[in-house]
Structures are given as C-alpha cells and as structure tokens.
C-alpha cells in the first residue's frame, strides 16, 4: 500500500473517530440534562449502558463532576482527531516537511498531554469516590494518552528538524 493511500485511510478513520466522540459528548450532555430536569431515571443508562444512578442518588454535585470529566475528555479527544484530520489534509508525501505541519503536530501533542492530565485527575477522583463505596464507571485511558503525547512530542521534534533540512535544501543553489 502506498503512503498516499495510507494517509487517505487514516483520514477516513479519523473522521469516524471524530464523529464518534462528538456523538458521545452530545449524547451524554443531552441525557444528563434529561436526568437533571426531566427524568432522574435516565441516569441509569446515559450512553451505551453507562449507569451513574448510584452516584446521582448519592450526590448530584459528584455526579456533575464525573459527567464534566467524561464530556471534557470526549470533547478534547474529538478536537485532537479534528487536528489530526487537518494535519493529514496538509501533509504532502512528496514534500512532508512544512512549518504548518510541524506546528500542528506539536499542537496535537500539547492537547494529548492536557487530555491525558485531565484523564489522570478523573481517574484519581473516581478512585476517591470508590473509597466511599461507589462503583467505578470506566477506564479513563490516562496512561495511553500520556504515552501518545510523549511519542507525538518526539515526532514534532523530528518534523522541526525535517523543516530545517528542507529549508537548507531549498536555499542551496
């Protein structure tokens, strides 16, 4: 498979994930509003079996904190994939090293780091809640995100070096 085709495949995949995270964030926000103002029973199945009913009956404040973490992470991940779609649209196989692409990759790395930190805080918060006898809800994936941020920082650095090389090449008579 050629690199161009791989990039196209990645673009399609990124669109699927981007739409998926947007739907996830939207669906959770919508069902949260329903659970708070219309029907508290909807906290039993917020999104694909996500049951926060015990937390809802324990404390509405804690419930809102957990929902905020879930939505914030989903929105940030959607934005990460949006940035990836933009980057993939700008990468040219024949001329990959441009300032713009290097900048966008470092931006993705920073956002991945922020998302990873939020996921880590959410994980710790959930552990604190579980000590109060409440069930755990989901795997936040903090370590994966932080690992990904690390790899992306290295890739961003490689791109910066690549841009320098390319500029040197372009300047050579």
């Amino acid at each position: 498979m050629k690199t161009k085709q791989i990039l196209e495949l990645m673009k399609v995949g990124s669109w699927i994930i981007f739409i998926g995270f947007c739907i996830k964030a939207g669906a959770i926000l919508f069902s949260t509003v329903i659970s708070l103002y219309v029907n508290p029973e909807s906290a039993e199945n917020l999104y694909l079996g996500l049951d926060l009913s015990k937390l809802f009956s324990y404390s509405q404040q804690y419930y809102l904190y957990i929902i905020s973490f879930i939505v914030a992470i989903a929105v940030l991940q959607a934005y990460l994939f949006w940035l990836l779609i933009c980057t993939l649209s700008k990468i040219l196989v024949e001329h990959p090293f441009t300032e713009e692409v290097a900048k966008m990759i470092s931006q993705i790395a920073y956002y991945a780091l922020v998302t990873g930190i939020i996921a880590y805080v959410a994980d710790k918060y959930e552990s604190w809640l579980s000590k109060k006898g409440l069930p755990t809800y989901q795997d936040w994936g903090a370590t994966e995100l932080l690992f990904m941020a690390g790899i992306l920082f290295i890739i961003a650095f490689i791109f910066k070096r690549g841009v320098e090389l390319q500029q040197e090449n372009d300047l050579t008579v």
């Binding site: 690199t3 791989i6 990039l7 495949l9 990645m10 995949g13 990124s14 699927i16 994930i17 998926g20 995270f21 739907i23 996830k24 694909l48 079996g49 990836l84 990468i91 196989v93 990959p96 090293f97 990904m148 290295i154 890739i155 490689i158 791109f159 070096r161 690549g162 090389l165 390319q166 040197e168 090449n169 050579t172 008579v173």
Partner: protein, 151 residues
C-alpha cells in the same frame, strides 16, 4: 487453567462489538482462545515496543534520520497493528459465527458497535501513524542525501 483465570477475574467472553445472547461455544474454548490470543498480543506488543525503544535510543544519540530508524518504525507499526487488531477481529468473527449458529434457535444478537469500532479504528490509526513516520524519515534521508550531493 480455568481456576487460574477465574481467580484472576478474567472474562473470556471478551468485550466485543458482536455478542450472542446465549454462548454456543463452551467456557473452556473461550478460556483457551483468550489465553493463546493474549499470548499472541503480548508477543506482538513486546516486539513492537522493542523496535520503538531501539528508535528512541538512536534519537537519544541524535541519530534522527537513519535508514535503520525508518525500517524499525515500519516493523514496529506492523507488529503493533497485528497485536492490536488480529485477535479482536478473530474474536468478532467467532462471536458472529456463534450468532449464525444461534440464529437457528430463537436468539438475538447484542451489538455494542460504537465504542468497539472507535477503539479498533483508533488502534489502526496509531499503527498507521507510526508507519507513515517511517516513510517520513525515509523522505528526510533522501532530502539530506540530495543536500549533501549539491555543491
């Protein structure tokens, strides 16, 4: 084996996209397939990590645009893709076969499409991203060679 997995609280039905309501294959079948699948995934991910560590060590020595880095990144991506996609896809196929067998009986298929698909596509993108990075390094090497040859 069964006792060991029971104690370790391992779920042999796997968290999958397709899930038949009543399992057709025995518990032992799932335990062994989970065991061998897990081993395969572990070996592939260890190989992938080894290649990535080699690349990182070369980066540490400031050897960025080397042909070995490009080759190792491509190998790492192939092992990563095999480790993260082959076994889950095989499990999905087995679940689907289970459903096909079940469909003779009045049973239903449960699907958890969204999260499962997002997870698999995510793994695919990470693997392909590592592969593209290998290609990018190859391109950088050709730019550098061109640069070196220019008087």
């Amino acid at each position: 084996m069964e006792l060991f997995l029971d104690d370790a609280n391992i779920n042999w039905n796997s968290s999958s996209i397709f899930k038949a309501m009543t399992p057709v294959f025995s518990k032992t079948f799932w335990i062994w397939s989970t065991f061998f699948g897990g081993m395969f995934v572990l070996v592939c991910l260890i190989h992938s990590s080894t290649f990535l560590i080699r690349v990182m060590l070369r980066f540490k020595e400031n050897l960025f645009f080397e042909i070995n880095n490009s080759a190792d990144l491509k190998k790492a991506s192939l092992y990563f893709l095999s480790g993260t996609l082959i076994i889950p896809v095989l499990f999905e196929i087995i679940h689907f076969i289970e459903y096909m067998i079940e469909s003779i009986l009045p049973n239903k298929l449960q699907t958890y499409t969204f999260d499962g698909i997002i997870e698999y596509v995510g793994f695919g993108i990470i693997g392909l991203f590592i592969y593209v990075m290998g290609e990018v390094i190859e391109k950088a090497i050709s730019i550098r060679n061109e640069n070196d040859l220019t008087i």
